[in-house]
């Protein structure tokens, strides 16, 4: 995998999430992208339990455990603004054992599911972000496979994203800001997803909208 950019696609005026996704996919198909099955990214939230040994500073810090269909054997554990751990899929079992320290808040589980497209060297994943049964937004992931240096391919990626997202093409993601010349890693993708999902979760915290 190469440099990946994850961004949010706002829902079009007067359209449902589903319809906006359809518009996007139709555009991609017209470009000539090939459909290649589905994908998912899920994110579970753990908060540190009040343990006798736990120090006060860590109180209230959230840990996110994420899975991605792109790397089916891996499991990611991240803190906000903190380190990102990549582990075996067995990590979930470990988390169950650590119930005393980290407690899973089931209600906060959020995931993005959708279709995976390939267009030459680009991998495009358009997903519907959902918390429980309700669709909350649209995520767009664009992966330029042949390159691992952000600076070398960012302009190309922006140009490509503009071709199907129009004016909604994102600016430089914050993860890239200190990565201009260094090698891009899969963990960076997950950090972007975490930020995006958190953003969507917070946005919709007030007015909960069901499937329109």
């Amino acid at each position: 995998m190469g440099v990946t950019c994850v961004c949010q696609m706002p829902v079009a005026e007067g359209k449902s999430v589903q319809q906006t996704v359809e518009i996007l996919t139709r555009k991609l198909e017209l470009l000539g992208a090939e459909k290649q099955g589905t994908f998912y990214v899920d994110c579970e939230t753990y908060h540190t339990a009040a343990s006798p040994m736990g120090n006060q500073g860590q109180q209230g810090k959230l840990m996110y455990v994420m899975h991605s269909s792109e790397a089916p054997l891996s499991c990611y554990a991240l803190f906000e603004n903190g380190p990102c751990l990549i582990a075996d899929a067995n990590f979930d079992v470990l988390m169950v054992k650590l119930k005393g320290f980290f407690q899973n808040s089931k209600a906060n589980k959020i995931e993005s599911r959708g279709t995976r497209y390939q267009y030459c060297d680009f991998l495009i994943k358009i997903g519907t972000v959902a918390m429980g049964p309700s669709a909350r937004g649209i995520s767009v992931e664009v992966d330029y496979c042949p390159c691992v240096i952000v600076n070398d391919c960012w302009n190309l990626m922006v140009e490509f994203m503009q071709s199907f997202m129009g004016s909604h093409a994102p600016g430089l993601p914050s993860v890239f800001s200190n990565k201009h010349e260094s090698v891009y890693s899969p963990a960076d993708t997950m950090v972007q997803y975490m930020e995006l999902l958190n953003k969507i979760r917070k946005q919709q915290q007030g007015p909960v909208s069901g499937i329109r």
Binding site: M1, S69, E70, A71, P72, L73, S74, C75, Y76, I86, A87, D88, A89, N90, S185, P186, A187
Partner: protein, 647 residues
């Protein structure tokens, strides 16, 4: 004889009369004395004086008897003895010789007495007093007695010999026992052995190397002692022998061959035969090492074949693989069959019989046989390394790279590339396809090179190949003009299914496995080469190129490729040569003359002026086959030279 031992009843002391011997009495009566001998000289002298021949009665005390004797008893004897023993170098020599002869005589006497005591072969008779009987003794009696004594002697000799052989055999038996143990030790160094009950069992399977073949592959170690001692022991005798399972006996190999598809499949499974001459079995059993190695080879061949046939059944291909008896048949290309057969000859005579009758073409691909062995060993290694220790307790079992897939976040394509397991059969079929394609390409190029002389084809094969890819560089040149006509250089990358042709200018053409495609392509390249050569030649000769086309749209349609054409003019501009060359139609050369040189040009009313004479006239075709020159480019050079006016 008289000795002191007989009866020393009266002791008499004897002493010499005079202490010093008189050597000389001078005329005045004075006596000169011989200096008395010292002790050792005296002893030596005494010893020399001993006369053993006279003292045969007292041998037992041979050393002691002379001590009692009066050494000065007889002067002449003394002198004689001195003369006799003078030449001997060592004073005790005579003593030793005499003692030895005495011992010999004693032994003989002892033996004779023994025999006499037995009274079977010899008796002692009182000798008759009259002297006549010996003469009257009839010769027959003498003969009988001689014979008797001889047989007696021979019996004794035989008995001794028997005793000797027995003791020798005993020591050899001991040695052999020791040999068995040392052989066992050597066997133990190379093979796995274990003791079960009172048997020693060994393991010749490849299980410890990672094989999963269910054959137990055990052999038994036997002590080979039931040898006939009377017979001569063969040179290659070994006290240790091994007994291998009956189904692993004999020798086996895998035959891989590619043939044109046989029209009938009636004799499937029986064609594989032992064409290979059986190694001359030496008299006597082969050494255990060779026996075990052969058995192990049979086991490995069986394993490969079992693996291949399992895959052949499992893998779905467009044309299903056929497994019949000991043969696997697959179709790599249409009309072509790859057959892999297991040839196992046990030592039974009946199995060998029919093999001799068959005579199939020897097309065994040794490379593929070797590669099969290599592949199964890789397979073994893979099995072994997947479960190799040490292993992290928390990690899933499997390949090491697979273990890293999680923590290093491998994506889907990387994981599938890890999991991709190509079977033995698929690999070998791919290799067979490549080998076949390479052979056919070589044959095509060679046949073209030998058939067509004018543009020459050179093929440079690379020495080092991958199992799935090899490359050849093809040059098309004209003889004598190699330096100026280098336009066509092709790189042919021969893969598994297709041939990639890389042109000198970077164009890539992909040809399928069909022979005809390559041949047509090369033919069209050769035809283009001629026109390129004319272009190069024109540059050298100072002619100018007016037009050049690799693919002419005019004229007769070629069945292969397109015709190419070129038009060049002479430096002065008077003449022009136009060449059209097609892969099928061949070359056509036309020359255009200046108008003034054409005699039979109809006079035109319009072109009256002289200046029109400098226009070019019509084209005339050159009878190319009547031109002088050994090849196209040379002919062209001559033509150009002829049309260039000397200045």
């Amino acid at each position: 004889m008289s000795g002191p031992g007989s009866a020393p009843a009266v002791r008499i002391s004897i002493e010499s009369a005079c202490e010093k011997q008189v050597q000389e009495v001078g005329l005045d009566g004075s006596e000169t004395y011989v200096q008395p001998l010292d002790m050792s000289q005296n002893l030596a002298r005494l010893a020399q004086r001993i006369d053993f021949s006279t003292g045969s009665g007292g041998e037992d005390e041979a050393g002691g008897s002379p001590s009692g004797r009066d050494w000065g008893a007889s002067e002449p004897e003394d002198e004689e003895g001195l003369v006799k023993f003078q030449p001997s170098l060592w004073p005790w020599d005579s003593v030793r010789n005499n003692v030895r002869s005495a011992l010999t005589e004693m032994c003989v006497l002892y033996d004779v007495l023994n025999i006499v005591k037995d009274k079977r072969y010899m008796t002692l008779d009182p000798v008759s007093q009259d002297g006549l009987p010996p003469k009257q003794n009839p010769p027959i009696l003498q003969f009988v007695s001689k014979k008797k004594s001889l047989t007696g002697a021979s019996h004794i000799l035989l008995k001794g010999a028997e005793r000797l052989t027995k003791s020798v055999a005993e020591t050899q038996e001991n040695k052999r026992q020791r040999d068995f143990n040392s052989e066992l030790l050597r066997l133990r160094q190379h093979w796995k052995l274990r003791k079960v009950g009172d048997k020693i069992l060994g393991d010749l399977s490849y299980r410890s190397a990672g094989s999963l073949f269910p054959h137990h592959g055990t052999f038994e170690v036997i002590k080979n002692t039931d040898l006939d001692w009377d017979k001569k022991i063969p040179d290659d005798y070994c006290p240790l022998d091994v007994q291998i399972p009956s189904d692993l006996e004999g020798s086996a190999y895998l035959k891989v061959s590619i043939q044109k598809q046989s029209p009938d499949i009636g004799d499937l499974g029986t064609i594989n035969l032992f064409k290979r001459p059986l190694p001359k079995s030496k008299p006597g059993a082969p050494h255990w090492q060779t026996k075990l190695e052969a058995a192990q080879n049979v086991l490995l061949c069986k394993e490969i074949f079992a693996q291949l046939s399992r895959e052949a059944v499992q893998i779905k291909s467009q044309i299903p693989h056929i497994v019949v008896k000991n043969q696997i048949i697959s179709q790599p290309f249409p009309g072509l069959q790859l057959s892999i057969s297991l040839c196992h000859s046990s030592n039974d005579k009946k199995y060998q019989k029919p093999t001799l009758e068959k005579s199939s073409t020897e097309d065994h691909l040794y490379v593929l046989e070797h590669n099969l062995h290599q592949l199964i060993r890789e397979f073994h290694k893979q099995n072994l390394s997947s479960s190799v220790m040490p292993h992290p307790a928390s990690a899933p079992f499997g390949h090491k790279r697979m273990r890293l897939a999680g923590p290093q976040a491998f994506d889907r394509s990387e994981i599938t590339s890890l999991q991709q397991t190509e079977g033995l059969l698929e690999k070998i079929i791919k290799q067979a396809k490549h080998i076949f394609l390479r052979r056919r390409t070589a044959r095509t190029i060679d046949s073209l090179a030998s058939r067509i002389e004018d543009p020459q084809i050179q093929a440079h094969w690379s020495n080092i190949n991958d199992v799935y890819e090899s490359s050849v560089k093809v040059l098309i040149t004209s003889q004598g003009y190699e330096q100026i006509c280098k336009s066509i250089q092709l790189q042919l990358n021969i893969g598994v299914e297709q041939i990639r042709v890389v042109h000198r200018d970077g164009r890539v053409i992909i040809l399928s496995h069909q022979e005809q495609e390559l041949q047509d392509f090369l033919l069209s390249q050769m035809s283009q080469h001629q026109v390129h050569a004319v272009q190069q030649l024109a540059k050298v000769m100072g002619w100018q190129v007016l037009s050049f086309s690799n693919h002419v749209g005019l004229g007769p349609v070629e069945s292969i490729g397109n015709a190419s054409a070129i038009t060049v003019t002479s430096p002065s501009g008077d003449y022009a040569i136009s060449v059209r060359n097609g892969p099928e139609s061949g070359s056509k050369v036309m020359v255009q003359f200046p108008r003034c040189q054409v005699k039979d040009l109809p006079k035109s009313d319009v072109l009256q002026d002289v200046k029109w004479n400098y226009l070019r006239g019509p084209f005339k075709e050159v009878q190319w086959n009547k031109m002088e020159g050994h090849n196209f480019v040379y002919k062209m050079e001559l033509l150009m030279a002829a049309l260039t006016p000397c200045s």
